[in-house]
Symmetry: C2
Subunit: 225 residues, 2 copies
Amino acid sequence: MALDQTAPSPIPEDEGAMRKSPTQKRSRERVEHILMSASRLIAERGSDTMRMSEVAELSGISIGSLYQYFPDKAAIIRTLAERYNAISRTCITDGLADVTTMEDLQRAFSALIDEYYAIFLAEPVIRDIWSAMQADKALREIELEASRQNAILLTTALKRALPGEDIGKLQASALLVMYFCECVMRLAISTGEPEGRVLIEAYKRMAYRSFDDAPAFPRLLTPGG
Amino acid sequence: MALDQTAPSPIPEDEGAMRKSPTQKRSRERVEHILMSASRLIAERGSDTMRMSEVAELSGISIGSLYQYFPDKAAIIRTLAERYNAISRTCITDGLADVTTMEDLQRAFSALIDEYYAIFLAEPVIRDIWSAMQADKALREIELEASRQNAILLTTALKRALPGEDIGKLQASALLVMYFCECVMRLAISTGEPEGRVLIEAYKRMAYRSFDDAPAFPRLLTPGG
DNA sequence: AGCAAATGTGAGGATAGCTCATGTTTTGGA
DNA sequence: TCCAAAACATGAGCTATCCTCACATTTGCT
């Protein structure tokens, strides 16, 4: 109903949301133009008030052409969201590549969170899309999928840093930590500075501890718990 | 722009979203009727597809009357959200009332999370509103405010269980823990069972540890960190 | 050049939130 | 009881926006 899986194309990631895979070069350029126009409008006034007619006008094309490339308004936003996810996935891959100890992980994770927060503060489009994300079911699935992919990267690093750890618990922790990254960004944006920074730092501590295998209260935990 | 603070009424919480405070008894009953109709429609098909005309029809009133009690569609959803927040706040207050040790807190928090998750699974209206919550700026502020209030309750319990702890860190941790409760519910609902249960349990562990004052990796932390 | 396929166009359909001029009921004082 | 004023109810229709579709234009190929 919401997701049309009409994508037997070789590049399903970006082209999946499109009406047909553009064959001509100009078409591909138009798609980029549309996405840039949409970005600009979202940055200026938000995705809710962005009108499709404006996107068409700013892209120098008609409404009909616009709908030839994107089946609906949500598809444009989804495409932007997936692009930003791809970027952040690359950052995470790079950041965690050389991690072999918990000390490495701590430094790398802290740096990644700071970087991510800086991007959030600087990029109104990301802020807006991630805020409106929960409204659309397809967008929620995209966010979950991104968290899963990021969690795989984190789990890989964790396995190197904590060999012999229970894999299931590592995976669950990693997914929570990555998903909560998005959440804490939204929270920090909502509260504003300087509280946002405090919460980001508190989250770093929270995440570090969750990686640790030792129970927080060993003397209190009942064995069956 | 988004929020009209036209509420010099004595009860700003529920009546704040209304067009005028109803003076006649029948009016008050109608408000309840409207909210029940809206709940039913949201439970059946979601708040996005809930139409104001349907709410009016199911409430046995006209569109015009509907708009006499609620200034817009979002106000109905906001009112429902605030009611559910009030209920959960009561549960948290009760659940944390007798907490004096970390052992108490662990048990109480675990029980609260389980209870909350059960409500989420059982109540489609709560699920829907909390999912769509991030779409509306006013709703995001309501969620933040609820998390703040719940965090105050948690901080109070934490101060009893961990006297001598740094208050600022406790407050930040408490806010994160309470805000993440909402987030992990959304996550668990997205993944579905049985993964949802696993994530809930992982979150309990994560939350416990965040309360602990001891650094997770004392041998690694630099003093200035 | 000439034809078919791909692409472009924008008036208008469809839907849903919301308004407002008008009608009806309740209230409260004489 | 009677009446005027205030409160409340009504629903046709205004508005705004997403999206479609019948038709026009351009492109690629022989």
